[in-house]
Structure formats: structure tokens, C-alpha cells
Symmetry: none
Subunit: 289 residues, 2 copies
DNA sequence: TCGTTCTCGGAACATCTGTTACAGCATCGT
DNA sequence: ACGATGCTGTAACAGATGTTCCGAGAACGA
């Protein structure tokens, strides 16, 4: 959706603008093109600058008048509405995947990561997603999530969501005592969400084997080479790792997490809404906002 | 409520209009909505009527002013641009939510999220990305990151990476004392990475204003409605929020984080590699793996 | 045919728009 | 440290905009 010449022109030449003009550019790009179709004063307010700065911005773009600038915006809009297929005119998808071109950091990242997200989510078998959602939607079960170096933050992210829509969800504590306490009660009423990416952590495998033995359910989020935990897991959700640098990307995995949350919310329906309301009310009452 | 309420309203009530007003309506529908965003006189010419007729047309639609009519048109346009996928589900929010059953969960999530990632990364001006990378690659500066309810985990994620490739990076501590300690030293040698999404947190604005006053640099990661922090930020990186449920997605923002890290690694080159080697060695030596 | 009603456009009006000039301010280089 | 340069906001300006009023004309029914 970037065949629009004006927006592109702004993005390219943003460095030449002054800081005030840059604010205008940002405000315009943030809600394009409508912000540019309002009056000068409104756009100025939106950007937090004065009216003349907006005019200087238009001048710098090469327009003599503000009306002329608006006319260009309108023409562009009219063309776009006429031929909606032109959106794909600038083939971004054909760029090399996985390799980072520093000149076009944004573009190559866009191509690599969006493709990884798409492949991941379409690549996961329906049954697996379904099963994972069913387990996470079972409010009789407690949910415990854990991850490694980086994936730990996604465990937290998932739990933060689940806390709000269903409750009874925690991340596996760090401290040995707390951890032992939690695992002592582990049983068939629990589902463990384990995020394990290479280099796979042996600790995760021990954990998974242990709780599986006690008939707890295990959901595994991993990369496409499949952590050894997959041997004991009830559900396996593999993700692509389309990486931009030495590090693998966790973006597709985060997408899976959000899809899971969306599925849980849908399954729980009114239950989730009620829980959420209660959650918010409690937050307000205790001043936790 | 179909794709565009105003256009529909016109089509339905076309019979109530006078013949002159009808010509205006046709001209407007012929090139919708751009024709309505021009001046009264231009629309009048386009329709072959006089200016007052156009105003009567707007009045008949229930608008007190012509500007008010244009404002509605703009709002409608903004909404439509905001969620290009919702054009199909025709804005029935509840039904759209209901369509997210596990059967289509994977597909719709794939489409929504990968598109959001792509739009986000191609939509961010190169200048902003470069500026952010430049700031984060300056090892003379300390990096401090902070976020809100959910985005906090991304602040952690970013810092985890930066710790390994450049060091001198922390998340803003939770405890008031530690926080005060850190902020006491804040100055031109620092860059604050603030993640602020709606509902925007006033605390972030205060923080940003405070550190900006002391000449620290501020990098803002926000949604497309731009947190108020954007007023004082040196770099603004907006992201799409293509959401699957009641929650906005943070997947695109995570993609931005990874792109930033990739940029920093590239900029630092051998310096990053050496740092990483040292980091690994230290981890092994102290048994921190 | 006449009179009523509705519709429409011309012209004057008030407002708000975009615009410009100017002065204060920060930033940078010397 | 101190001018020079560039950037920004305030205030005043001219023009265009949307708006209103009023009279001319058309449509319709009696």
C-alpha cells in the first residue's frame, strides 16, 4: 500500500526536514492521507506545531500552496480508489529473504518477517491450534508458562493476556523454592506452556518429562527443528525463525501467542468479557492502573 | 451499516432530493469521497449546479455545515483506511469476532498479522529507523527502556538483545528508589526507549519530558495514533495494531525491535561480535548458562 | 389561466482560511 | 565566548470560503 508517491516522498526525504517539519510529517503519515486534507490549523494542532510550520513543510515538499498540496493528495486518493489492485505495484515480496540489506533495513525486514509470520500461522496444523486453544480455555486448569533466555518474555506476554481473560495463569518462578512449591502441586489439572528454542535448554526437557509424568498437559512452542520437548508434549506449535541477524526471530512465535489468546477469547466468549470487566474493576479499585 | 454510511445514506434517500441536489449526489457518488472533499464551488461545477444547491444538499443529509459534512467524510475515510481487511466483514464488529473460530483462526491471523508487520516496517520512514539505530549504536550512551502493561515485555526483549551486543542497557526499574537513582543520573549521555500504546500512560509522558529536559534522547515506539510522548521524542516509530481480538497486536512492534537490533549489529560490526563473544565467555565462566 | 409552492442561482456578507513579515530562540562553527 | 545561521511561533494581512438573503423561474393543481 505504498504506491502513493507523496507518502513515499515524505519517507525518503524525511531527513532533510527540520524537526518541526518532521513532526508534521509524522502526524501526516500516522493517519494518511486524511490528516493532510484537514485545514492547516488542525494539522498543526495534530502535530503540535504552529500553522506556518505546516506551510513550510508543504513548501519543502515542492508545493507552492497548501491547496496545491491538498489537491495532489486528493488526486492520489482518487487514483487509488479507482484501481485498488495497484496496491501491489511495488513488489516487495521479491526481495532477498533472510539477508539484511542495511540500505533498506525496513524493506528487507518487512519482507522477511511478514513472510515468516504468514508461513508460521498457515503452517501450523489446524488440529494443533485447536487443541492448544481448548486446553488454554479450560478454566479448571491452571496455566504455567516458561521460556528460555529470550522466549521468557513471550511466556510473560502470554500469561499477561491469560490473566486478564481467564485467570489462574502464571509464569514459572525464578527462585528455586517457589518453583519447587509450584511443581509440587503439578498434576492433571495443569497445562504447561513451554517455549523452547535452540539451543534447547535441558532444563525444559526435565521439566516437561516431570510434569507429563504427573499427567499435566504440555503445550510446546518451538522452532521448526523441534525441541526435544516435542517428544513428551501434547501439542506442538512450531514457528519459522526468519532471522535478520545472528539471532532468530521471535516475531512469528509472538504471532502464535496472540492467535492463541484470540482463540481463547472466542471460546470463552462472555466468560472472558466478564472476567476482563472484573479485572479492570479490581485494578481501578486497588489503584493498580 | 455498510462499507460507507454516508454513501449508503445518499443512495437510500436519493428520492427525497430535488433534481439539483440529485445531480450533486450523483457527482459525489461518481467519485467518492474525493469530490466531497473539494470546495463547495468545485463540487458545484462538477455537478453543474450552483454553490447554494450543494449546501442545501449537505443540509438535507442532516449536516448543519458544509465543513461538518466534510469532517464526517474524512472520519469515514480514516476508519476505512485504518482497517483494510474490515472492508470485507463490513464493520459488524461482533460478527467479525465470531468469525474467528479455530477453523479459520490460523488463516485470518496469518493474513492480519503478516500484513500488519509488512505495513509497519515499510511504513516507517528510513530516516527514523536510521536515527534510532544510530542512537542505539552509540556505545557512549546508556540505553534505558520502559513500557506499559504489555509493551513492557518488549522493552525487556529489546534490552536483552542490546545487553549482548553493546552492553550498558537496562529496563527502567520498578522500585521507586532504583528508578529515582537511575533518573538522577539521566542526561545527554542517555537514550530512553519508551514504548507507549493506548491507553497512553501519563507516567511515560512525564518521564519523557523530564529526561528530554536534561537533554537525553528519546526514542518512542507507539501505535499509529501517536502517544503524546511523540511531542518530545527525537525519533518516533509507529506501528500498526492489526488486532485479532479486543487486544491490539504487539507483533509489528516486536518486528520493529528486531529490526533495530539487526541495524545495531550491522552498525557495530566487529564490535558487536567481540562483545557477544565476551558475553558468552563470561556466562560460561560464571556458570550462568 | 391563475396562484401557490417548490426550486434554483446571483450577489452581498461574515468568517475563517492560507499566507507573509518579523522577532525571539537555539544551534553550530569559529 | 561570540557572531552567524537556521528554525520556530506570534501577529497582522489579504483572499477565498461557506453562508445567507432575495428574487426569478419552473412545476403543479385548481
Amino acid at each position: 500500500m505504498n504506491s502513493s508517491s507523496i507518502a513515499d516522498s515524505i519517507r525518503t526525504r524525511l531527513g532533510d526536514f527540520s524537526s518541526g517539519e518532521r513532526r508534521v510529517a509524522r502526524a501526516l503519515l500516522a493517519s494518511y492521507p486524511t490528516a493532510g486534507l484537514e485545514t492547516v490549523r488542525l494539522l498543526a494542532e495534530r502535530a503540535g506545531v504552529s500553522a506556518p510550520t505546516v506551510l513550510r513543510f508543504a513548501n519543502r515538499l515542492g508545493f507552492a500552496n497548501y491547496p496545491e498540496f491538498q489537491r495532489s493528495l486528493l488526486e492520489e486518493l482518487a487514483e487509488r480508489d479507482q484501481s485498488p489492485l495497484n496496491a501491489y505495484s511495488s513488489g516487495v515480496g521479491e526481495e532477498a529473504r533472510g539477508r539484511l540489506d542495511p540500505e533498506h533495513l525496513g524493506r528487507s525486514a518487512a519482507a522477511t518477517l511478514s513472510e515468516a509470520v504468514e508461513e508460521t500461522l498457515t503452517g501450523i496444523p489446524r488440529y494443533e491450534l485447536d487443541a492448544a486453544v481448548r486446553l488454554l480455555s479450560d478454566t479448571d486448569r491452571r496455566v504455567v508458562a516458561c521460556g528460555g533466555r529470550f522466549s521468557r518474555v513471550l511466556a510473560e506476554y502470554l500469561v499477561l493476556h491469560l490473566m486478564q481473560v481467564r485467570g489462574r495463569s502464571t509464569v514459572l518462578p525464578d527462585s528455586p523454592v517457589e518453583r519447587a512449591d509450584l511443581l509440587s502441586d503439578a498434576g492433571r489439572r495443569d497445562v504447561f506452556v513451554i517455549l523452547d528454542f535452540r539451543r534447547y535448554e535441558e532444563e525444559h526437557l526435565r521439566l516437561a518429562e516431570g510434569v507429563a509424568e504427573r499427567e499435566a498437559k504440555v503445550v510446546l512452542l518451538t522452532d521448526r527443528w523441534l525441541s526435544p520437548v516435542s517428544g513428551v508434549a501434547d501439542v506442538v506449535l512450531p514457528a519459522q525463525v526468519g532471522s535478520l541477524s545472528a539471532y532468530d526471530s521471535l516475531v512469528p512465535t509472538m504471532a502464535v501467542c496472540e492467535a492463541l489468546v484470540a482463540g481463547v477469547i472466542h471460546t470463552l466468549g462472555d466468560g472472558a468479557e466478564e472476567r476482563l470487566r472484573r479485572f479492570e474493576e479490581t485494578s481501578r479499585r486497588f489503584g493498580l492502573l
